[in-house]
Symmetry: C2
Subunit: 284 residues, 2 copies
């Protein structure tokens, strides 16, 4: 990369050399997209970033990044630390807390999650689907609980987690097919199913209202998940419990998880039915 710094302006003939490196190649992208791509640079492992890191990862010149970031900071979407690095700001968090599928379901579900948590003292999770993944909305864990793979705000694959299976089973047929057409996301500690088994599993999940996954990676655990329905009968979230493998038999956990999920569904205006595909008639 050591380019000889000619004292000449020189600029070189900008044609032949590298075709992908014109004079101002990045132009053409809307400003908002660029600003959002800056936000997207932040991740679990990158919570505090310098200007140049942000510029590098978002693939834009430092001056441009600085200008955009300054506006974001002025508004409160980002905050600047004493050492000059940037972090996601409370103001953004505040607006995000108005997300119906984020804090919305959480707010409604929390009391029931707590009940389940207090009774079992194991991890209790709540997740929603966003595109092709599950997003963890809430997790209650005692200080001494077993290690668990996901954090609140993190993403998990649909095919190889209990909440994922529940959400996938509740998605529309077309989406399910699209997912199954793709190669599965590799997930450590979970054996991924062949398509036939997956189809059968999803069908079972719909029928029983329970999904179960055993995994070995961060630790040996069993997850049991159940769907949360909204007033229209759509699956809007998945509630699950994660226990050390061998502690409590899954068939003991299932009723508790399902009861909690139902309680949340009821609070969302869902009319409980005998079985998933039976709708009660008329009702104000």
């Amino acid at each position: 990369m050591t380019l000889s710094p000619d004292t000449e302006t020189h600029t070189d003939t900008p044609n032949a050399a590298s075709p992908a490196r014109g004079k101002r190649p990045k132009q053409g992208e809307p400003v908002i997209d660029r600003a959002l791509s800056l936000l997207a640079v932040f991740s679990d492992r990158r919570r505090a970033l310098t200007l140049s890191e942000l510029a590098r990862h978002a693939d834009m010149p430092a001056p441009t990044a600085l200008r955009l970031i300054s506006r974001l900071v002025a508004w409160g979407a980002l905050e600047r630390l004493d050492d000059g690095r940037y972090v996601v700001g409370v103001r953004l968090w505040e607006v995000a807390s108005l997300s119906p599928r984020g804090h919305g379901v959480r707010e409604i579900a929390l009391p029931y999650l707590e009940d389940l948590f207090e009774v079992t003292r194991h991890h209790v999770l709540l997740a929603v689907r966003d595109n092709e993944q599950a997003v963890l909305i809430e997790r209650l864990s005692s200080k001494d609980a077993t290690e668990v793979a996901y954090r609140v705000g993190g993403r998990a694959p649909l095919r190889s987690t209990a909440v994922g299976l529940v959400l996938l089973a509740g998605a529309d047929q077309q989406f399910q097919e699209a997912i199954m057409a793709k190669p599965p996301e590799k997930e450590p500690g979970v054996a991924d199913m062949p398509e036939g088994q997956l189809r059968r599993t999803l069908s079972d999940v719909r029928r029983t209202g329970i999904a179960m996954i055993r995994r070995s990676h961060p630790s040996m655990t069993v997850s049991v998940a159940s769907p949360v329905f909204d007033a229209q009968g759509s699956v809007v979230a998945a509630l699950s419990i994660v226990v050390p493998d061998g502690s409590t038999p899954p068939n003991v956990l299932a009723p508790a998880v399902r009861a909690a999920a139902r309680a949340v569904s009821r609070n969302l205006g869902h009319q409980a039915t005998v079985s998933a595909d039976v709708r009660t008639h008329s009702r104000g």
Copy 2:
């Protein structure tokens, strides 16, 4: 508003008529600011908005709003409901969950909040300061708890809430003076203190590590709050409990609240000290 549509270009002399309604008066504001102002339209009472509502509240023409909103939707900052209205999206919530002062402290504090909650069965709150207000980061409440004024993601005044007093007491001197120079935010159900009493109160809070407020509005309650410190010894959050007035004596609650706040502080790397103004010497 019926302006005569002259077939002439005419353009008119844009001075005399309505000075606030030039040809394109809104130009000059950076795009990002406009996009952010769209996000800012959302509030507790406005969680789902139509295009025209957004355009109206953000004070911009519908086509402009549509263009910006479309980009936000494409990224996931907003989501569009079946009825055409827009809500805050999960993707934005996901990024916001990386906010150190938002979910960051929450994540660390949650187990201790839960402990406190389980023991007392009363509201447990966690708040941080953002500019001149406290922002509620977490609230644990049993399903049958007394009514409480604030929701997670909401804002509360510094001068008239227990968490607010703790955060104010922990802010730098200059900021405190600036706040006291301003007229207090009117808060229903709380008698606001004269400046002298406020100064004394803040001093007491710093000394004792406890703030207490009695309020009558949504219901008769007593709040007891205590500061959470980071590794540098700054007050980064306030932890509080809200109980019905007359239930548990505040002096019984104080030790429990303070213990919980200390536990959280310790987890943030704070070295416990005998009194707030004593720092332990040397330490990597």
